[in-house]
């Protein structure tokens, strides 16, 4: 991908994250704070379909934005062809692992 497109993605995911995190936090604040982490309440959160979709989106956008940030830092830290392809590979793998793990939680809680 051309760097310009990656960076546009970085900006847009950043803006999306602000909206999605607000939803995420609001869901904890609509009930008394101490109850919000109870097992059944958390499980019900995951079973609420529109909210789950927003969680999945949050997962993907934060993973892209965050690991792209790490990629930027690593590219500035060191240069060289081998290093750059390693960084690219590392970023993609880390995004996939984290998204897969988060999606696993969402899918399994919906089956519970």
């Amino acid at each position: 991908m051309v760097e310009r497109k990656i960076m546009l993605l970085h900006y847009y995911t950043g803006i999306a994250i602000i909206a999605l995190v607000s939803i995420h936090i609001a869901m904890r604040l609509i009930m008394p704070f101490s109850e919000s982490l109870e097992f059944s309440n958390v499980l019900n959160n995951y079973k609420n379909l529109p909210y789950t979709i927003s969680l999945e989106l949050l997962l993907i956008t934060v993973a892209i934005h965050g690991f792209n940030g790490v990629r930027i830092i690593l590219l500035e830290f060191k240069q060289g062809k081998a290093w750059e392809s390693f960084v690219k590979f590392l970023t993609l793998i880390l995004i996939l692992i984290v998204v897969a793990w988060g999606t696993r939680t969402i899918v399994l809680t919906n089956l519970m």
Binding site: V2, E3, R4, L8
Partner: protein, 254 residues
């Protein structure tokens, strides 16, 4: 008689061809009102230590060859009065992010290479009669104002020395080269965007600027490279609107 006021100047001494490690040397000289750092260095060279290496030419912030770290901040030696530096001891070091030739003289070759790579000249296309000097380039005064600020750059390298990205990333063109690229891209007589695009828009190009603003802080000519880079970035981002045109530009660039 009043006791003579003294000023201490600590200079980093290093000769890469003879020594392995740099060392500091201190000089004490009388404080003379109106003296710049460069005047003091010339005083040292004349009266105290002839072996000190410095580079200078115009003594009035036009040539841009006497840039150095003065108490940790990149500044022009000829443009900094002793009275501007409020501390009793003044520490002078060569510019960071540049190779050292000797003492306070740094090697600008890589820096100029970055500047050259972004083609700092007008690129014309499709108007042969202008190329053949039959007609003049026409430019409105408002178009001039768009880039005039960036054209007063003296290539002194202070912005490059202060840039936190250039301190680790040698492939980053640096604030100077990028703001000069904007100076030509913003010029309405120029149509060399696609030739420059490949060097601006790559993993070590303009996107590595994070607007730390240090370049504008240290610029002795008020060029404000940070502004130039942000405007260039705006230009690159806004390019997506006429999609076809951009696709064409990219097709030719890559």
């Amino acid at each position: 008689m009043e006791k003579e006021e003294k000023v201490r100047i600590k200079v980093l001494r290093f000769n890469p061809s003879k020594e392995r490690k740099a060392s500091y040397e201190s000089y004490e000289l009388p404080y003379i009102k109106g003296f710049t750092i460069l005047d003091s260095l010339l005083y040292i060279k004349e009266n105290l230590d002839h072996s000190l290496a410095i580079r200078y030419s115009c003594r009035m912030a036009i040539c841009g060859s006497c840039g150095m770290l003065i108490n940790g901040l990149p500044r022009l030696a000829c443009y900094t009065q002793l009275s501007d530096v409020k501390r009793k001891e003044i520490v002078l070091e060569p510019l960071p992010n540049f190779p050292i030739i000797r003492d306070l003289v740094s090697d600008f070759e890589g820096f100029f290479e970055h500047h050259k790579s972004l083609k700092p000249y007008l690129i014309r296309k499709g108007e042969e009669d202008i190329d053949e000097n039959k007609r003049e380039y026409i430019q409105h005064i408002e178009d001039l104002e768009k880039y005039l600020q960036f054209s007063v750059c003296i290539k002194c390298g202070l912005c490059y020395a202060s840039c936190p990205v250039a301190s680790t990333d040698e492939l980053f063109p640096g604030p100077q080269a990028l703001s000069q690229a904007y100076r030509y891209i913003a010029d309405n007589r120029d149509n060399g965007l696609e030739e420059r695009l490949k060097l601006i828009d790559n993993p070590h190009g303009i996107w590595r600027c994070h607007f730390a603003g240090s370049c504008s802080k240290v610029c002795p000519k008020g060029v404000d490279p940070a502004l130039g880079i942000q405007l260039l970035r705006r230009y690159l981002m806004s390019l997506r609107k006429p999609k076809k045109k951009l696709a064409e530009v990219y097709r030719r660039a890559y």
